[in-house]
């Protein structure tokens, strides 16, 4: 399994877009998790009376209405956005793999019930599912946000996994494992799922971009990540009244989103191309 995943990754990295995407992702992750030690405290207000000051020496991205350093806030908001997206997608892929694996392997009534439910869930746009789930919380903890984003992101993945499992269920190596006395759990986890690792990696990479945008959107609506924790979306929300007087307060967090999502999508596209050369 790991062998084929490495091969997929190296084939994706052979294309220029894949390489640019991967380098950008590595760079962004490094910046977001290392730079906070070098930057001022994102919640410090060194000169509250000065308010929002334009980009200049000392504050390369300027400061917001409370005179907080925007670069420091973009970086620490990135920590939140990237962690939330990574964890939510990991959860979504696990759920999708399990449901798809069980449905495909078991077949019959269980498959019918699960897939009808997935059909229904797929018909409700994810944003509206999120709005329903998020509206419950007065103050949404970050853990709950991860849970909700993950729980709404696995439907399409489960269909992909189910399809692959259906295709492989009758393969000889699975029959051999069954003949050797392996139970369903072992067959699904050790023999079937490793073979869907490629499609899962593609879905996960592209899923990260979706989740970053969704989390930013929810935070922009004031129902995702809440102050005082900075996130890219909530920074843009805070900056809205300053649009005329201090546009830099909303430009930089937005650019951070664009660069991150673009990087993830470039890598995702390259991976998809490497997995299925026809689609590229």
């Amino acid at each position: 399994m790991t062998g084929s995943l490495w091969r997929l990754l190296s084939r994706a990295l052979a294309s220029p877009t894949g390489r640019i995407g991967a380098i950008l992702i590595a760079l962004l992750t490094l910046i977001v998790f290392v730079a906070p030690w070098l930057l001022p405290d994102p919640s410090a207000m060194p000169n509250l009376l000065a308010g929002a000051t334009p980009p200049g020496p000392g504050h390369p991205f300027g400061t917001d209405q409370l005179n907080r350093d925007i670069l420091a806030r973009v970086v620490s908001g990135g920590q939140i956005s990237l962690s939330v997206a990574g964890l939510a997608v990991a959860l979504a892929m696990t759920l999708g793999a399990l449901v798809g694996g069980v449905a495909g392997y078991h077949g019959g009534w269980l498959d019918s019930i699960l897939m009808r439910a997935v059909d229904g869930a797929l018909a409700i746009p994810r944003l509206f599912l999120l709005l329903l789930l998020v509206a419950v919380w007065e103050q949404m903890p970050l853990g709950a946000l991860v849970l909700v984003l993950g729980a709404t992101g696995w439907f399409a993945t489960s269909r992909i996994v189910r399809g692959e499992v259906l295709r492989l269920r009758e393969a000889e190596f699975v029959l051999a494992a069954t003949a050797l006395g392996a139970g369903p759990r072992r067959i699904i986890l050790r023999h079937l799922l490793p073979n869907v690792a490629g499609p899962l990696l593609v879905a996960a990479t592209l899923g990260v971009g979706d989740v970053i945008l969704l989390e930013a959107g929810l935070s922009y609506l004031g129902i995702g990540v809440r102050p005082p924790t900075p996130s890219w979306g909530s920074m843009i929300l805070d900056a809205r009244p300053l649009l005329t007087t201090a546009p830099w307060t909303s430009i930089f967090p937005g650019l951070a989103i664009v660069i991150t999502v673009l990087a993830v999508n470039l890598l995702g596209d390259a991976l998809r191309g490497a997995l299925d050369p026809r689609s590229a």
């Binding site: 229904g120 018909a123 329903l132 789930l133 509206a135 922009y220 609506l221 843009i236 937005g254």
Partner: protein
């Protein structure tokens, strides 16, 4: 044909029932009930709150509630808004529909009109500099949060250049006896920025689908044959190749049809556009469950309808589907 259509429609209706069950369960999974928030906001005696619970049917057992919900929904009654009490949810939805239809329809037209042309252009010039830059530009736009792009455009065109209005659908200062032409122009001016924002962030998908599909068709023998017969390239491209490269785009169109009713939650919020997306976002802020639920159901119905319509288009366009 009729039998196929009936089966396909029955399937969609069945899925919609599943959607209804899922949404009901989701709403009931939430701790407490929809009225708790209302009670937190104002002083209410125990009798008042019990009367309200009776009014909304929350004192009934779960099964009965579900029956009321489903029969109500089938009759077009989605309950009463909590925020805008006592306006029925259906009335709210209907009042917001025209604005969403206008914005969504414009966006569909622009996205597919421009997207198809650009996709065809890219396929014809594949690998050249114009193709590469169009791909890069569309991918960058695709990575933008719509609300952020909206804000940036509003800042630049609305505030810096003072060219276009950045909020609402009408100018409140417009004289009440303005002619319809002036009114239409006014709405059009308000429409430009939100429509442009949504088109920009979504056009990449259409371009990519059209480019890939056309490239695949251009490789086929019948295109070569058409060229060999000496047909003008324009005719080969549009009459022969393009018509066969339309299927994935038609599928995408079906997928996107819901934007007609839902508009966009984020862009409508940014531009204060009085559509359904704006309604849904406000309802979340006010914890107005019946309204969120109502919009979710309406949009889901539209998603399923879009699927059926796309299949119907496949059926009409491609004889092979009929035999399958």
């Amino acid at each position: 044909m009729t039998r196929w259509l009936l089966r396909r429609t029955a399937q969609a209706v069945l899925t919609f029932l599943v959607v209804t069950v899922l949404l009901f369960v989701l709403m009931r999974l939430t701790p407490g009930d929809p009225l708790q928030r209302l009670e937190g906001d104002r002083q209410m005696s125990a009798e008042e709150s019990a009367a309200l619970r009776r009014r909304f049917g929350i004192d009934q057992p779960m099964g009965a509630q579900f029956r009321t919900f489903v029969t109500g929904a089938l009759a077009g009654d989605l309950g009463v808004s909590i925020e805008h009490y006592p306006t029925p949810v259906t009335t709210l939805l209907v009042s917001r529909l025209p604005a969403s239809l206008l914005l969504g329809g414009t966006v569909l037209l622009l996205t597919f009109g421009i997207g198809i042309v650009l996709g065809v252009f890219q396929a014809v010039h594949r690998g050249r500099r114009a193709d590469r830059w169009l791909t890069r530009a569309s991918l960058t736009l695709y990575a933008m949060p719509s609300f952020w792009l909206g804000l940036v455009l509003a800042w630049y065109f609305g505030i810096r250049l003072q060219l276009l209005p950045v909020a609402q659908m009408h100018d409140p200062l417009l004289s009440p006896d303005a002619t319809w032409l002036v009114r239409a122009g006014d709405v059009l001016r308000h429409l430009i920025l939100p429509a442009l924002t949504l088109t920009a962030v979504s056009i990449a998908a259409v371009m990519h689908y059209q480019r890939t599909a056309l490239l695949e068709v251009l490789r086929l023998d019948f295109v070569l044959a058409a060229r060999a017969r000496g047909l003008p390239e324009r005719q080969v491209l549009w009459r022969h190749a393009w018509r066969n490269a339309l299927f994935p785009v038609v599928g995408l169109f079906g997928l996107w049809l819901p934007i007609l009713v839902s508009g966009s939650v984020f862009v409508e919020q940014v531009f204060n556009w009085p559509g359904l997306g704006h309604l849904a976002a406000d309802a979340v802020g006010a914890r107005d469950y019946p309204v969120i639920l109502g919009t979710a159901m309406l949009v889901s119905a539209q998603v399923l309808l879009g699927g059926v319509l796309a299949d119907l288009a496949y059926y009409a366009l491609d004889p092979r589907v009929r035999r399958a």
